[in-house]
Amino acid sequence: MIKIKNLYVNVEDKEILKGINLEVKPGELHVIMGRNGTGKSTLANVLVGKDKYKVTDGTVSFNGENLLDMSPEDRACAGLFLSFQYPVAIPGVNNMYFLKAAVNAVRKSRGEEEIDAVDFLSMIREKLKMVALDESFIHRPVNDGFSGGEKKRNEILQMIALEPKLSILDETDSGLDIDALKIVAQGVNDFRSPDRAFILITHYQRILNYMQPDFVHVLMNGKIVKSGTMELAKEVEKKGYSWIEEEVAEVA
């Protein structure tokens, strides 16, 4: 699905990512953990093509294509999705209108017919149930005046409406109460399938109680320093990151 090789990224001339290597195959769920400021969000943002993130070395291939050469919209149309850590509010733009424009842009790129308003509404009603939101929600401006939990659920709603191949969830769990967390996790679980993959970025092991990751990676100082399975996440939860830090120091 995605192959990241030796990826180096600068933000405003500061090197943030220092040689990331990661491969995610269809059906897999990878978790990336790490302290604040280790480059987790940078990795997410550079993959979706945010312009202030400059790639200085390395390659990313997405289903055989050179991802780094593509515009943000082409990446989305090719099946890449990021659930933002801080979704931006867009006053004046109706959520439903936005969702329909996005779904149709993606459909068009796949050579499918555009969906009309009636079909769209019945489709979106089904998806709203999956994230436990009522219909009034889609008639509000995008993320405008939404609570933290609503914003995150709106991200998941967009994900299940756009049906991406690879979804990156950037701290989708942070700031959620336990009920909202369960809803979000359930939304993701229902959406999992053998041909879809996920990268979940998180601080906490908490959300992993509701999901089954295949791999867990620890990001430290712009590099993946340790990879494992669910056991690694549990260890981090119990002991924090310092022991990994020490391990890394020893090797160096």
Partner: protein, 421 residues
Amino acid sequence: MSVSNYKVEFEKMLNRDYFSKSLHPYRKEAFAQLKKIGFPTRKWENWRFTNVSAISDGEFMISEVADAPKNTLNIDSYKMEGVNSIIIYNGHYQKELSSVPDGVTLLSGLEYLENKNGDFDTANNSPFDLLNTAFADSGMCFIVEKEIQVETPIRILFISNGDRSIMVNPRVNIDLGESSNLIFIEHHVGDAAAFFQNESVFISLENNAQLNHIRIQSNSEFTQNIANLNVNQQTNSQYDFFQLVDGSKLGRSNICVQLNGENAQCNINSLALSKNNQHIDNNIIVNHNSPQTHSTQFVKSILFDTSSGVFNGRTVVHQNAQKITAHQTNKNLLLSKKAKMNSNPQLEIYADDVKCSHGSTTGQIDEDALFYLQSRGINKQDAMELLVTGFANDVLDKIPHPEIKQFIQADFTNKLGRLMS
């Protein structure tokens, strides 16, 4: 500034026998006064950012019979569903194409004056009001008797066409009797190569009367368009104004509202879309003369290219006007580095128990919002359009009538699409 360029035309006007002589004294007095004060210059406080030299140095001629259409006009391209229209072409009333809805009486300026026993509105004696009084040509007065609810909206369609530098000075009176209501639309269109329209509108709302006033100014971008709106409101009356301006080289609206009776309320909403070197200007004064009166000003501008704009919004709360609410909001979106906006929201409060606010923001497209939309598969062009439309939507939402709203929204989307492609 000198008004001498207008003197010859003024003499010409006085000699045209189709203008009633009984109005001459008012005309002469107004013209004399205008000569004394002159056209505004940039030294005048409310005209600091507005260049009217195209008008003060211009050589505009009064509209002649030859400027009227030769044959019956085809107005299909300006069609609006569900309204009665009055057609004015280069200042000439097109009677056979015009109709008024049930419940509205249409009088000429002269008939109206006779009705009012010679009590002639002179407004605030600004240069352009005086110019209008001096040169008033198409006088139209709409009267709605008390307790009449007019169902069908009425539209004046002003068409300005041709190559001659014509000046027209329409004068419109709207009198709504107690507890009556009306939707009034003025729609300015045409492809004139040079044209100056200086319109004065006098609105009088008796107790409990309600007027929805919609103004669409889409004149050609080679024209000068000045609107002088004077609104007087009595107890419990409501005035809702919506304006979309995307026309004329210089487009200026001078709006003056007097909230004279308790609970009188006015809502002024305006959206401007400017391109090339257009200049679109809103100069608004709301006077709270009575307690418990309410006003809002909600003005947005979208500026392309080297266009410029002004928001000059003044709310004056007089001493006895306690427990009033007044809110001003001005938001501007600059879509080019060379576009320029001057914003000046002002509150002048002499009462002590009031709720007032004002705010102004000017900025560019939100890059984060743009990226957000792109990251969902929407291409940059469409995403920009979506954001600009989003910026405009909350003003467009103020249009009260669903069909007219649809019309204006489609018109706006169409124009925006052309500007953004």
